[in-house]
Amino acid sequence: MIPGFRNVVTGSRRTFLKGSAAATAGLVIGFNLPVGARKAVAQATGTFAPNAFVRIGRDDTVTVIAKHLEMGQGTYTGLATILAEELDADWSQVRVEAAPADARLYNNLHFGTLQGTGGSTAIANSYEQLRKAGAAARAMLVEAAAEVWGVPAREITVEKGQVKHQATGRSARFGELVDRAAMRPVPTDVPLKDPQNFTLIGTRLPRIDSKAKTNGTALFALDVRLEGMLTALVARPPRFGATVKSFRVDRTKAVPGVIDVVQIPSGVAVVATGFWAAKTGRDELEIEWDESNAETRSSAEIMETYRRLATQPGAVARRDGDVARALAGAAKRISAAFEFPYLAHTPMEPLNCVVRLSATECEIWAGDQFQTVDQMNAATAAGLRPERVKIHTVFAGGSFGRRATPTSDYIVEAVHIAKALGGRAPIKLVWTREDDVRGGRYRPMYFHALEAGLDAQGNPIAWQHRIVGQSILEGTPFAQAMVKNGVDLTSVEGAQNLPYAIPNLTVELHTTKVGVPVLWWRSVGSTHTAFATEVVIDELAAAAGRDPYQFRRALLAGHPRHRAVLDLAAEKAGWGTPLPAGKGRGIAVHESFNSFVAQVAEVAVEGDTFRVERVVCAVDCGVVINPDVVRAQMEGGIGFALSAALAEAITLDKGVVEQSNFHDYTPLRIADMPKVEVHIVPSREPPTGVGEPGVPPLAPAVANAIFAAKGERIRSLPLRRT
């Protein structure tokens, strides 16, 4: 019995354990369920499950099975739209349910064999897959109708959930046809619609999760309650790399509600009847830490070593022409150094999950972003085979990359605790905000050194870009594919593929070893490379005495999609029209995750500080599934980027993180949110992502606007602390 456990989308009692049996029953072979399995499912549940991505009930409900985590980016709405389009369902009959962890059926086609969400790939990798799934289901309903009515299938039309035969005036709802449709073989190679005939894709359908998220019924992992469940908090070391030497539990055990105190690899866990007792008990722990392997440097010290490294050549990520010679012969030279701090993700819902462990099975409830990885890590910790780990993915209260952790840190902790308790109670592990801010897995700190040169006509002829910082992927299972010749592609993405036509260009990387755990953070490498490159391009334009928009435009002749968003943003922002004194406009353009975004920021200088008043954004993300979700992701990406650009920084004092909660690690609040206008470039290219690409251009556009307003170049983030 799971009190309060409600269907996150419809608000009705949750039935996914029963429902998803269709996909996990062990009868599943490949993409489609065999006829026997479908018949069994249809008889047992009154639903038609032609494949792993959709079930249609006798009550007409179309349930789309989402293999991707909904963490705010609107993916449930987008995935359902794609399938419903080819099915010709009515939007009001569509529901969404999270897929179980099963990489054979639900792998991210861009991640190979892994099921997971990230890199703004959800729509891109699902587009063809879900169109085919919807089209196959539609074809089976049509054939069922043809059989019942004794008419040719090709004369049957489907519209808004109604199957019709015009000549005989017959019609049926999906629900009336499911039993018969379930008996039919699954067709292969069903033709897909001509995109010109789309009726759902490209329209502003309402978000499928809006209602549940405005009345308190949306279910997050923190809301999961199981019978007999206990809550655990973990005391972790104050310095990264330290371990438990010894601890005293007497005072903790005296706290009412504390049930047990157990040591796990990452620290000491206090297990109690609820959060408050666990927190009070943890406050009473006395722990001695072994810091012999701990990181004890301060961030300023570490940055100093980076600065020195940047004077030396690094591993080469790209080399065009002869940059040394071009620099030596340049008529004008610019050198610029950039500093970027560690950044925390701080999703609104702190990390947490629920684990129920038995001798033969491990069940996990989480806003799970990395199902296959989490399954494997949980299995190792539990001493079970991965297929014995079941994951119930629920809504995540944000992630920004934090919940996709190669070590599955928070999930593994919960499994260790459940195991230490001998599986005698389900465990809800909760990280407090302090645990989150101080817990590491940050966007790495970086130092960039750029040297660039113009010829006598003001054309850029040399560009030498050195990046210094930790690798996100080294030491993870992704290193093999993504770290080449000492270059972690996530460290240089956005720099190494610089689109501007500059004949002599090198991008080099120094990968550093620091005992601070790091991780991808919404838009990953582009969080820093877009800033350095787009500020230096602006500096080159100024040095050449040219308009920064026209200067970029001229260098992007070979990149029409960059140019199109740049043009659109400039036009809509009124680029070139006069602004009052004290105000300035800045522009930036960047490609990330195969989407193209340009932004123009308008800044008003106010004494020593400034306000960002307006941001105009243009985006090209290929075929648009839902323009309003695209706009929302651009708005949110801009706010998230501005948040970091203005005031976010994690700093270390002798290895100890100096920030702890939202009073000193300060996300953007509403008063600092600018007006945002989003414009979408129409496109027939395959759809790409929008979760991350709105982030990178914002900080350089703002820094360039500050330069336009008051002639001051800011080269280090966050802007308000320099």
Partner: protein
């Protein structure tokens, strides 16, 4: 110790440590989970409830301090203003991850009860205690204006 209060219009008695924050009493003892935990130190507003009609951070309000008082959570809000706000939120699709939104909506309802036609500056002032890490702020402003408009009409 037993603490009696009115929760969403129902009298209830809770046998809890009076120092326990109201947030955890609501979430874990009563079992209403629409009110969220974001920071535990009155910084983010995710835990906002109405205490005798006033928006209050339940994460720093000891349950012992609400003896005999009226507490309303997202599950219990009702009336013209609440309906206008929740409908505007849905019409404009304000939510992204949704985790902050119970708190945002509780703050917005309280604002509109005091100030039926707020300006942008009044919205910013009233809503500045509610962090949205997904930065849905553009739509929060728009939805509050929209709710104000529908209530006029």
């Amino acid at each position: 110790m037993t603490i009696s209060l009115n929760l969403n219009g129902q009298p209830i008695s809770l046998d809890v440590d009076p120092d326990m924050p109201l947030l955890w009493a609501i979430r874990e003892v009563v079992g209403l989970t629409g009110t969220k935990f974001g920071c535990g130190m009155a910084q983010c507003g995710a835990c906002t409830v109405h205490l005798d009609g006033e928006p209050t951070r339940s994460c720093v309000t000891p349950v012992g301090a609400v003896e005999g008082r009226n507490v309303t959570t997202i599950e219990g809000v009702s009336g013209r203003v609440a309906q206008a706000v929740q409908e505007a939120w849905q019409r404009l699709d304000v939510v992204q991850c949704g985790y902050c939104q119970s708190g945002q909506i509780m703050s917005a309802i309280a604002l509109l009860q005091q100030t039926p036609k707020p300006t942008d500056d009044e919205i910013d002032a009233a809503m500045n205690g509610n962090i949205c890490r997904c930065a849905t702020y553009v739509r929060i402003r728009a939805a509050i204006h929209e709710a104000a408009r529908t209530m006029e009409g």
